[in-house]
Symmetry: C2
């Protein structure tokens, strides 16, 4: 499952530099999100220096994972609405893979997240933006360590305006 | 103003490793927050690789700056309630500098943030947690680039439980 291409692997080259998830950003986290049934899932192991208080994961990193998994999920949802699976299926020749940006991000830190184990980031689509003219996708996201949910987030993502591409 | 010690410079050594603002984390952002009148202010210039879409700052970094400026402001507010200015005045000998962690973080991305210029992060205290028994401080935070507010956040910070210190 995890060796299949991820949503972010399908982003067009000119918008694949995101510090959180761009495959072309060699300094970044390169988060990879994929469908697992009706959920989207990403797995990420923080570095030792991604710490808040010694022993725990930095909250800003958790927010970053939620952010990028949210925009990735939004892109995958838009692709699904267009009839293909982002990352797994080829992008139809008359289209470009969709790219979303964050309009708002909310994170509740429910418990300290232990630093060391792999984290699992899960996304559930709340609003697929399928109403006519909608460019917005809303996802609920959890972050788990060792089977326990330690943070819960919500991402409102909007289709990236063409004007953002330089 | 900017050469005076910052709130984060007063954090006790054992809780000064935060990736966002710990002075002892050599890989991290080392954000520095200070009082400017009734506001708190931090300034930060992102690296070229802290990008979302080329030309713009990564949203996860913006969330991180808001997060650490929020907890820093909360600590400074608690110190002020205890009668001293965090970073500037010595911590009273019978006390430890206060340290806060994030309970929740909200960020609205109002406009793309240009990558290159120094960012100004401003905090205003909404709830100083001065009610008896309260361990919670709430701050409103803005991020500005070239004089324009591009993101607005809200941080609910709680006094760090002793049990988090390993």
């Amino acid at each position: 499952m995890r060796s299949t291409p991820a949503f972010q692997d399908a982003y067009p080259d000119d918008v694949a530099h995101c510090y959180g998830c761009g495959r072309l950003n060699e300094h970044g986290h390169r988060l990879k999100s994929r469908w697992e049934g009706e959920q989207t899932v990403a797995r990420f192991t923080p570095e030792a220096y991604h710490t808040a208080i010694p022993g725990y994961v930095y909250g800003g990193l958790i927010a970053s994972l939620i952010d990028c998994h949210g925009t990735g999920t939004a892109a995958a949802v838009a692709a699904r609405s267009a009839g293909y699976r982002l990352g797994e299926d080829p992008v139809p020749p008359d289209q470009q893979a969709p790219r979303y940006v964050t309009a708002s991000l909310h994170v509740d830190y429910l418990a300290p997240t232990p630093l060391g184990p792999e984290l699992t980031v899960r996304g559930v689509v709340e609003d697929a933006g399928e109403e006519k003219g909608s460019r917005k996708v809303v996802t609920s996201i959890t972050v788990e360590a060792e089977g326990k949910v330690t943070a819960k987030g919500r991402v409102v993502a909007v289709r990236m305006p063409e004007s953002m591409i330089r």
